[in-house]
Assembly symmetry: C2
Homo-oligomer: 244 residues x 2
């Protein structure tokens, strides 16, 4: 028996998110069917993260058990020939039997990208949120550091979603301008649904000067979704890396 | 009467090329219809270049005459709200009456991009040619310099296409690696159909070591399309800039 992990990139534009749903085209379903065709038996597939509809990934990780003897390189090439062009397997590794892409994950790094130019670009429109107004990125970068550490993130969760706990731990957070792009990166041990996009939507208010850095801290402390800003569009968000 | 020039970016993936054709969706037709809706009268539109099916543009230029008094900024915003997301107007300028986007063009810069990684990327597949083999870019960069100056480019034209002259003048040419990308840039006063893509297809043979730099010069001198390599895929090609 082998325990294989794959690193997978995808453009989420044309899918109803990661997770299998009846009668909808999802990335999980598409990938799982591809793997089953190669290894020639049904699999149980675990994944490091579940991305929402329209969200992208550079480094999604999945794992599954198989008795197939397919070589690592053959598995990658075979899968990429079966999969649609917007899903690509970029690596395959044999792991110890106790590795599980879902349960072994230590942290996930998400990067949100804003295209901050007067006019939108046809080349980046699928992967960025276009904001044509001036943004104060140093101020955004100072404000976002308030989320570092363990906090109750109720202000940034999906409105009516219920969890056992609303406490999550953020290991790294920052805002950086690079040419026409503003990158907002957030790494944490776990996330609630829409959490990154709600943080991004609120931090843009700091960028516009609509709220102060201290206001951002008050919003976090309010533990109330209604206190925060809007949910940023899915298309600017990408799962960059999962650390094990 | 005003003579307006627009700079236009587009992702050519979903269009049958630039030039109007009956019953086919082209970029020229889509853009012209948008402008006519804004200025509220039929126009005659000139363009700096005609890109083939699947080819992209960062800096296409068009010009047209109008009596409309629409402000520059209003014209850009109005057009971008009408146009599909894969065509964006990025600038609009009032020009002297003797300016013509087609006839005033002095040179055009094309950039061809190869993604030179073991596996393809879902994010770049629309804009690059994926080549997983090692490529000797310094050698490609030396070979491509043979096209500088005025030459008979019969070896690199579209097979059965006939022109009054096959002589074209190249002002700049080079091959440069940047991270996972190899950029091939060619600037000239004019091009024949498929010329850049045929040059690219042949220069990749130099990159693989399949032919020598001297062989590339012999192919240019042969003035025979059958001597050269294959036509590189359209999706890696982009019109970068037109100089007036």
């Amino acid at each position: 028996m082998r325990n294989i992990a794959l690193i997978v990139s995808y453009d989420g534009t044309s899918y109803h998110g990661w997770q299998c749903q009846p009668n909808l085209r999802t990335i999980e379903q598409t990938l799982k069917e591809g793997i089953e065709r190669i290894v020639n038996h049904p699999i149980k597939m675990y994944s490091g993260a579940r991305t929402d509809r329209g969200v992208h990934a550079y480094g999604q990780v999945v794992s599954f058990l198989t008795e197939s003897r397919v070589a690592r390189k053959g598995l990658i090439l075979g899968l990429n020939s079966l999969l649609p062009q917007d899903i690509r397997v970029i690596d395959a590794v044999d792991k110890d039997m106790d590795f599980n892409a879902r349960y072994s994950a230590k942290s996930k790094l998400y990067i949100y990208t804003i295209l901050n130019t007067p006019y939108d670009s046809p080349f980046y429109t699928r992967y960025t949120w276009h904001i044509p107004y001036p943004m104060d990125t140093p101020s955004m970068n100072r404000a976002i550091r308030y989320i570092l550490g363990a906090h109750d993130f109720s202000s940034f969760k999906k409105k009516d979603e219920v969890y056992k706990s609303h406490i999550r731990e953020i290991l790294m957070a920052g805002v950086k301008r690079r040419g026409p792009f503003i990158h907002i990166f957030v790494e944490g041990t776990g996330f609630m649904r829409y959490m990154v996009r709600n943080i991004v939507g609120t931090i843009t208010y700091v960028g516009f000067g609509k709220i102060s850095e201290a206001d951002f801290l008050s919003i976090l402390n309010a533990k109330d979704r209604d206190a925060a800003g809007p949910t940023a569009p899915a298309k600017g968000l990408a799962l960059r890396r999962i650390t094990y």
